[in-house]
Symmetry: D3
């Protein structure tokens, strides 16, 4: 089986409400998204998919996450951020790397139905979370 993987960085602020340690405070990361698309065969160009197509699909989400603040929809900071016209992306769960990975995975399914193998979000070089199709 063939798989292509493309990674892309994005610069975001977030915080995890109710987190017992420092993650409860607004902070930020140079996040990295890695997306894997699979195929049993190659197209006429010898490709699973042109990397530029994958880039474009990823950007549908990553352009919204880049230079933005990612928050849980219950976060009390939201009203002030909206008043000051910040770029916000709201989740109905805490904005962890796990939740971000599943969110990106699901959005990419629209572009590559049944062919998204795995999405990984790296919060830092040390910490990352992956969502995949299971076995």
């Amino acid at each position: 089986m063939f798989t292509i993987k493309r990674s892309q960085k994005f610069e975001y602020a977030h915080r995890l409400l109710n987190h017992p340690a420092l993650c409860q405070y607004l902070h930020g990361h140079s996040g990295n998204a890695e997306v894997e698309i699979m195929s049993n065969t190659l197209d006429d160009q010898g490709m699973v998919e042109d990397f530029s197509i994958l880039k474009k699909a990823m950007s549908e989400v990553l352009d919204l996450w880049d230079h933005a603040t990612l928050l849980y929809e219950n976060d009390p900071l939201i009203s002030t951020f909206m008043l000051h016209q910040q770029r916000l992306y709201l989740f109905n769960e805490p904005p962890t790397a796990e939740v971000m990975a599943r969110t990106l995975f699901n959005k990419l399914q629209d572009f590559f139905p049944g062919r998204v193998k795995r999405v990984t979000i790296s919060e830092t070089e040390k910490n990352q979370a992956t969502y995949d199709r299971g076995i």
Copy 2:
């Protein structure tokens, strides 16, 4: 001449008020600080300075910047952040990598007077700013 360099990461949110592009919106970075300390001679341990000493000095500032929001003191978001007890670090200039580098440089002068050679702050892997002693 001998120089030692130590680098350390920190995860911060910031924004640049009045920036014409996306940097005006609150976002974040996995920042990296590189500090260089110089000496013409080595101590009994064969060192410019024990790396653990340099680490401790850097942490005096970086522990305040890590998992925090760095803002210009005129930023209208500050009052809300204070109300919600966020970890803030305020500058009397825009919180650019240049300003952060000079700030860290000046703080380290207290620990290593006349021996701080250069401080570099990387906002991303591609973009960084350095403050040094000039020639």
Copy 3:
């Protein structure tokens, strides 16, 4: 399925007795351990497991490997090292990356029973070994 992965470095000396080439001589590496923990669901914090919990579990082993010498229990150098009170970690097999990966995997099973997906030890940036649960 969700997976989180955390990596951590450690600085160790080792040697491989009977190795036909340079690995027979005592040398060292900046090793890297990557541990993956899996889960079908997320907890209330939107996490597989808090990264700090995973860090703590990994440290149970990695704190013993860091700034230490890893040797096969039959190594004739051991008595001298003990006499000079070195930090030793002994294996009943050669201290290869493969053996280290399985050792760390098995220790982590105590903390995350049935949920350790894969452990990878990188000896260098080029060479690494993985132990996983099979299929």
Copy 4:
């Protein structure tokens, strides 16, 4: 199950005939090949396979790709390159990362029959393709 992975860089020129964008023009990459070999057991040395054996097997192909030009066998530039005695490696498909990964995978099967798990070719740090044994 145990897996070892070795990566090796190679510097190559290529182009993709009929590609709609810039890849149609001759250009180059610092490619990276990652090869994974698996085993359920370890040998007497505590290894899946000595890394030097894997390195030697990989070099059978990578020495031909390094400092060479990789082209589709129909490429009209070939005759001129042969006249000027260039180092060429020709494929009967477009020389994409996908095709390169499968080519290397198949060659390595001669050395490690049934034990090659996965081969990944990175064109750039962002874009890579993998060929594996499927499930």
Copy 5:
């Protein structure tokens, strides 16, 4: 003194005519350009120069080098490449990292007169060349 540094990758083919070893054959690299611009003071935005301005200036050259073939103007392959409408960038010296660094340095002087501190071209992660203003 303040310095900002921006790095950018580009994918190019080249060869060094008359080189005694493998560099005489057409091959390629994922090159990296690092440009440093200096200033004694910061502007109103707290910057040496907006990174986007530096990016734009660098692109004036790097867009020509990316997905292109860089050759010495005497290279006998040029006529064939022109016939096949390749993207070529010709130098009146061998296209080494040293020559590329000086070329980019001189072009950037038009944008930042007297303020270009140093330009570094990395051919590979191991090998790089720098051109600077001397002392």
Copy 6:
């Protein structure tokens, strides 16, 4: 002025006698050496020096440090290591990154008299030491 820089890794064990913390115990690193050679002019090949020449000069020292144990000549472990025919490299100072950098610098002066600009030894990705010609 032109400078070329080449980096090379080496895998070594060492310890720092009398160090107050963990460095007193035998441990190891994947060290990295970066050597910079300068020149005001380029040779006929458009080079400061062929990278292969620099590689060869660096190897004169690095081949002795790789897969070896680096110790202060007073270290009480030496006699046992000699008895067991280990690969040793002894310094008349503690084997710190600083001392290693100056040692490599001085050896390279034999190959490139007056043209060695700077030698940097990285113990880890975070900690490094440089020896240069001063101003």
